[in-house]
Amino acid sequence: MDTNYAIELKNVTKRFGEVVANDSVDLSLKKGEILAILGENGSGKTTLMNMISGIYFPDEGHIFVNGQEVTIRSPKDSFDLGIGMIHQHFKLVPIFTAAENIVLGLPAEKGQGMSRVEADVQALVDRYGFDMNPARKIYDMSVSQKQTVEIVKVLYRGAEILILDEPTAVLTPQETERLFQVLKNMRDDGKSIIIITHKLNEVMEISDRVAVLRKGKYIGTVKTSEATIPSLTEMMVGEKVSLNIDRSEPVNSELRLEMKGVSCRNKEGTVTLNKASFAARSGEILGVAGISGSGQKELLESIAGLQHMEEGEIWYYPPGGEPQALHSLSVTEIRNLGVRLSFVPEDRLGMGLVGSMDITNNMMLRSYRNGKGLVTDRKTPEQLARTIIEELEVVTPGVTTPVRRLSGGNVQKVLVGREISSNPTVLMVAYPVRGLDINYSYTIYNLLNKQKENGAAVICVGEDLDVLLELCDRILVLQGGRVAGTVDARSATKEQLGLMMTGTIGKEEAVNEP
């Protein structure tokens, strides 16, 4: 076997029931390179990496590490081979320091105190240019620092091969920049790195080669220097797609919803939303940007009547009617007022839908109170289910299939379909395309645009700044629970948003609304 390769996979197959997650995939990682694994959600990237890191066992195929065929049965086997994986969800003990988390579970050497561990960790940090204090507790750290701890952890344990699963999903543009610099330093030091992503511009920026997966199948590997964004997209999607969102000018825009000085606290007493004020107008899409956990959830939930507010007011201006106060009303009270407020929450199967129920039953979440006496009406929701399946082209074996069994994109179609079926005047969506592939994403963007044209005030919380800038009319930026400012999406830049998200520039400098 060629020992120039750190990892080689041959004919690796993994099935889950009837689903083939990986279909005889071949893959090679050269020593001292950064390989990007590109593919849409559900294309089998994470499954493939989980087999290398010992979480799953392949059904078929061979894995070679440094030219030797190996059998990886557990994460420990994988560690012993010098493979370290950094997962999307961090596995750290919040009340321990970074250094304590890093040595957790390792046998102590004789006379090795925490101060020596901290010094060793500090040496690693300096060597690659990380930004981390080993003596700091995890609960004091930002998301990007926690990620740094995870990376340092695998390096400390002697990993020569690093696998990062969607590392930039939780980072700001500036933090991403820094991560990439660190990765390049590690590569130049001889480490081999795999980075899983579906963001094309990042692939172009960081990787030496790109391996593309599509629907569990291995499509091919190309040199990044010879690839372009359109060529990679075509490999990933299998067809040419146009990547433009039609953005129309807002028509007859009028004030529809206003939030004034709303503050919220979570159970621990931390302020999650700090005197937030903004206005949403009919016929426009208002984007909400911010690092995750900056108050987006609380913002939407306080409007929907799901969040206890400490102070502040929320006013709804119905078309041609008197203003109505929505603050301190429950979900039921808001609905009884006749406010057509729709909400597509971030947690689709944990809040917007019930995963084990079928589509009809999920339609009933909004309508089950209709029906004579004690008996609930099932006919109307069943018709609605059929309509949504037909009009939004939901791929499902039938109306009685539990929505949990549907793919992410189809789950979102069901949820969005239900929420727009009531012709909302205010439509709130949180991370509407998270986990969706390109085609489904554009379906959702089009649905949002259609609601905007119908005169709804659309509030869209998003994470991909490029998309927000293309889709929205205005963008509200949240920073640590505070409204950092509102910008015109047609003229703002990604860098400007990034600076506002991190609090580097504040409201005064950033407002460039017309």
Binding site: E69, L306, D347, Y368
Partner: protein
């Protein structure tokens, strides 16, 4: 590096056809009977077929035995029907035992104190209401604390069982008959006041009618009513329930009142329809067995009929063979235990399949 695949791996099944599921369960029942047979042969040195004949004989061998089996089945079924909405809501009601006992206690008290004052029909109606009320209160208390302070309902309902038992012990002091026996004895044995009347010459027909009515009602409640829908949503995800504007706390309290009331009624059926007495063992563990019935039936009241019938059939049969072959009563518990082990264990094979290491092919 060693180079071996793991010998056995679990694989989740994607879909299971009804035929497969039934087949797995049938195999489980057969296997459990085989294991029981081995156990019986070791203990009794008897032909297992003879022992099985004894089981059938014990459960349905005579008209009277068959009716006792039916009587026990419907009580177990009624408790399971009462537990179903609570468990569907993922409220771990381990307190059916106490709720049954409180319902039974209310029934016994009314039989003793009002037995001589009222006509039987009126008395039975009052007992019907009072027993449900007693169970309702016993179910409401843990639900209230769960809704208000988020207490752990498993521990709470379990401890309520012991409180109920102590109250019964306390009452027995006043109701002792004959004095000094420390038991209540048969209540109103002469006047038969508060006893279920015989219908068509059979004293258990009313038990069956009451339980079947509640079984059917529960099916419709869970499947077609708005409240049943709310219970299902709360059980799957409280977050989704809040999102849909469902008042989760109210649903928890309401459902536990229904659940407790039906268990309380089971107490009346036990006391007025079968034992005509009260003791700390009136519930006799049925409150726990009913949990198994409800879960194995996936909360479908009609499947509960089958499962409670099977369990009681085996229990009654085991009691018979215990006397017939001179075993003590624990032998019947062991047999029931073996059967439950296989029936519950087979759920694993319905959800997963095992894959064995393939023969290594030489490359």
């Amino acid at each position: 590096m060693n180079h071996k695949e793991p010998l056995v791996r679990m694989k989740k099944r994607s879909t299971v056809s009804l035929k497969q599921a039934v087949l797995v369960r049938l195999v489980a029942v057969l296997l459990s009977l085989v294991v029981c047979a081995v156990f019986i042969v070791i203990v009794t040195q008897q032909n297992p077929l003879q022992v099985y004949a004894g089981i059938v004989d014990g459960a349905v061998g005579t008209g009277r035995r068959a009716w006792v089996t039916v009587r026990e089945t419907v009580v177990l079924l009624l408790i399971a029907v009462g537990l179903a909405p609570a468990f569907k809501m993922r409220f771990w009601n381990i307190g059916a035992e106490g709720q049954v006992l409180m319902g039974g206690l209310a029934s016994a008290a009314l039989m003793i104190y009002l037995g001589d004052l009222l006509p039987n029909v009126v008395l039975l109606v009052i007992i019907f209401v009072a027993s449900m009320l007693a169970g309702l209160i016993w179910g409401y208390i843990p639900a209230f604390f769960k809704a208000r302070y988020n207490t752990n309902e498993t521990l709470f309902t379990l401890m309520m069982n012991y409180v109920a038992m102590q109250i019964v012990t306390f009452c027995i002091v006043f109701w002792e008959n004959p004095a000094g026996s420390n038991t209540v004895g048969i209540i109103n044995s002469a006047s038969q006041k508060g006893w279920f009347p015989s219908i068509a010459g059979n004293s258990y027909i009313l038990n069956v009618i009451i339980v079947l009515i509640f079984t059917v009602l529960m099916y419709f409640y869970m499947t077609y009513s708005k409240q049943g829908y709310e219970i299902a949503v709360v059980g799957e995800s409280q977050n989704t329930a809040r999102y849909a504007g469902i008042n989760v706390k109210r649903v928890i309290k309401r459902t536990m009142m229904i659940s407790g009331a039906i268990c309380g009624l089971a107490g009346m059926v036990t006391v007025c329809g079968a034992g005509h007495t009260i003791s700390t063992s009136t519930a006799n563990g049925r409150g726990f067995t009913a949990i198994i019935v409800a879960w194995m039936a996936k909360f479908n009241p009609f499947f509960m009929v089958l499962i409670s019938a099977l369990l009681v059939f085996m229990q009654q049969g085991a009691i018979q063979i215990a006397t017939q072959f001179g075993l003590n009563k624990n032998a019947s518990d062991i047999i029931t235990g073996i059967i439950l082990f296989f029936l519950i264990g087979c759920e694993f094979f319905i959800n997963y399949e095992l894959e064995f290491r393939k023969k290594q092919k030489e490359a």
